[in-house]
């Protein structure tokens, strides 16, 4: 890792996904939760206009990384630049201004359960604009049509399947025409059809609307089919980065274990524990 510099953007880019037009530049990022180090001098560049996948085993802090780049958490150290603006130093007002330029798809959709599909998608428009109702209706129906759920506008979130809820959340995420969308585990718990739909939607939306997409996931196969650039996190650092093909051909044991789904390897299957036999024979202990 490069040492911390006074100008974060001047530091060397991480290897793998070159290009100078980066919308997000993360440098020397360290973050701990209690005694646990989540990130240790992390460097990541997110290229504008592309689909970037952040992968890694469960518990590596992928969702935490999204919380950091959206200013929901503050790092212990390091810099996070969004389009040149330092997120870690933004006031609440500045953070809200920045967030109007981004969309986020939460793992469970995070739809407002007291509003129907139409009102959920219209929610950001009603909060941030004074558009006439006719125009709001037009925009909402356009976005719902884009995710294939125009016919479900009157349903309540409790009436939607997991895949449908995520598509509604996607419609809501793009309703303000953001520059970048963060997807937090968008494929978890989806059936193959819904998963295929969401995978294609992410790519199609990105290209059609000229967005930048950041997909946090551990689904190698799905994200490999749409990502331009991939970062693999493990033990608080980027262990590999590049195109999905680069990662497939990577010789590092950690990368190979993750990409091929081996149970044991550098990332151990077992949580640290005392000797199995000794623990079984120990009558007093649990």
């Amino acid at each position: 890792m490069a040492p911390a510099g006074s100008d974060p953007s001047s530091r060397k880019s991480p290897a793998g996904c070159g290009g100078d037009d980066n919308i997000i530049v993360i440098r020397n990022l360290s973050y701990s939760l209690g005694q646990t180090t989540i990130f240790n001098h992390l460097d990541i560049d997110i290229r504008r206009g592309g689909v970037t996948a952040i992968m890694g085993p469960s518990g590596t802090g992928k969702t935490t990384l999204l919380r950091l780049v959206t200013g929901q958490e503050l790092p212990d150290q390091g810099s996070i630049l969004f389009d040149g603006g330092e997120i870690t130093k933004m006031s609440r007002r500045e953070l809200f201004r920045m967030r109007k330029r981004v969309g986020m798809l939460f793992q469970n959709g995070a739809l407002l359960t007291d509003l129907n599909v139409y009102e959920n998608v219209a929610f950001p428009l009603r909060e941030h604009t004074k558009l006439p109702e006719r125009l709001i209706r037009h925009i909402v129906l356009t976005k719902l049509h884009a995710v294939g759920l125009r016919g479900a506008w009157q349903l309540m979130p409790s009436q939607l399947s997991g895949g449908m809820a995520r598509r509604v959340a996607l419609a809501r995420a793009i309703v303000m025409d953001p520059e970048i969308i963060y997807y937090d585990e968008p494929f978890v718990g989806l059936d193959p059809i819904s998963m295929g739909v969401v995978v294609r939607l992410i790519r199609r939306m990105n290209d059609a609307l000229g967005l930048t997409s950041v997909v946090v996931t551990h689904d190698v196969e799905e994200v490999s089919s749409i990502a331009d650039c991939t970062f693999l996190l493990s033990a608080g650092r980027v262990v590999a980065s590049g195109t999905p093909e680069d990662l497939q051909d990577h010789h590092s044991a950690t990368v190979m274990q993750f990409m091929t789904g081996m149970a044991d390897g550098p990332v151990p299957f077992h949580y640290p524990a005392p000797d199995y036999g000794a623990q079984l024979l120990d009558r007093g202990g649990k």
Binding site: Q72, F96, R99, N108, A110, T113, E127, H128
Partner: protein, 268 residues
């Protein structure tokens, strides 16, 4: 032996210290939260539909419970009052006794306790679940402040609903006292109403109850939304927050009631 008892005392002192520090931290956080609610209230007041919806949820949907409770509390008051007062030949005054008891004390206090159990738990668990299901984070990510959009309307809805519910409780209680005293026990109806009219003062008795219920409304609504908003975002966390909201509200209402009574009676 001496060492053991000294160690025990030491541990007890430490635990009391930790508990006190925890209480003061929560109390301070509550005051700051209340300040945030008050500062952000103009935003919600500019969108009255949000507040009206919450008045409906916390007020109108609590009406049946409040009315039934008021009716039976009034009936019990009349029954107990009749049994005692008839020994002195003063059973005609049960209307006045019931009205004074209801408007000054029982109306606001019992309404606040019922509010904590019915609307307060609903507020805490709703906001807690919104926290647990990322709805509040989702709002933050849409650059919408959940305090302004979710918490303040619920808080103001509760503050508005509480005095209205307390008045309805007292009215139902007086009706219950009339039902029990006049219709069932045969107290003279004219005496029942005239004693009440002569002795219950709008400014002193009825208003003191309304003032109390406004304070209780602020306390109960604030504690409910505070616990929900700050809960641990898990099923267990939401459950604990809901329980805490009821317990803290009930205790706060009883303590506040004593302080307000002393204040309203002029320190007598």
């Amino acid at each position: 032996m001496k060492n053991d008892s000294a160690r025990g005392l030491n541990r007890l002192a430490l635990e009391i210290g930790y508990s006190l520090r925890g209480f003061l931290q929560t109390f301070g956080a509550g005051q700051i939260f209340l300040l945030r609610l008050i500062i952000n209230s103009p935003y919600a007041l500019a969108r009255p539909r949000l507040i009206i919806k919450q008045v409906y949820v916390t007020g109108v949907q609590s009406l049946v419970v409040i009315m039934l409770a008021g009716l039976f509390v009034g009936m019990v008051l009349a029954l107990q009052g009749y049994l005692t007062l008839s020994k002195f030949g003063a059973e005609d005054t049960i209307g006045m006794v019931a009205a004074l008891g209801l408007t000054r004390e029982l109306g606001p206090v019992v309404t606040a306790l019922l509010f904590a159990g019915r609307a307060g738990t609903a507020l805490s668990s709703e906001i807690g679940l919104m926290r647990a299901t990322d709805q509040l984070s989702g709002m933050e990510m849409m650059a919408v402040d959940p305090i302004k959009r979710v918490v303040v309307p619920r808080f103001l809805g509760g503050v508005i609903a509480m005095p209205l519910l307390a008045v309805i409780f007292s009215a139902m209680g007086i009706f219950g006292a009339w039902l029990e005293g006049v219709i069932i026990l045969g107290v003279d109806e004219g005496a029942f109403w005239s004693q009440m009219q002569a002795q219950v003062e709008l400014g002193q008795d009825v208003m003191s109850g309304i003032i109390k219920s406004i304070f209780f409304g602020v306390a109960a609504s604030m504690l409910a939304v505070f616990e929900g908003y700050n809960c641990v975002p898990t099923a267990e966390g939401v459950g604990r927050a809901t329980t805490r909201a009821v317990v803290h509200t009930s205790l706060s209402v009883l303590v506040l009631n004593f302080m307000l009574t002393a204040w309203l009676l002029g320190g007598t």
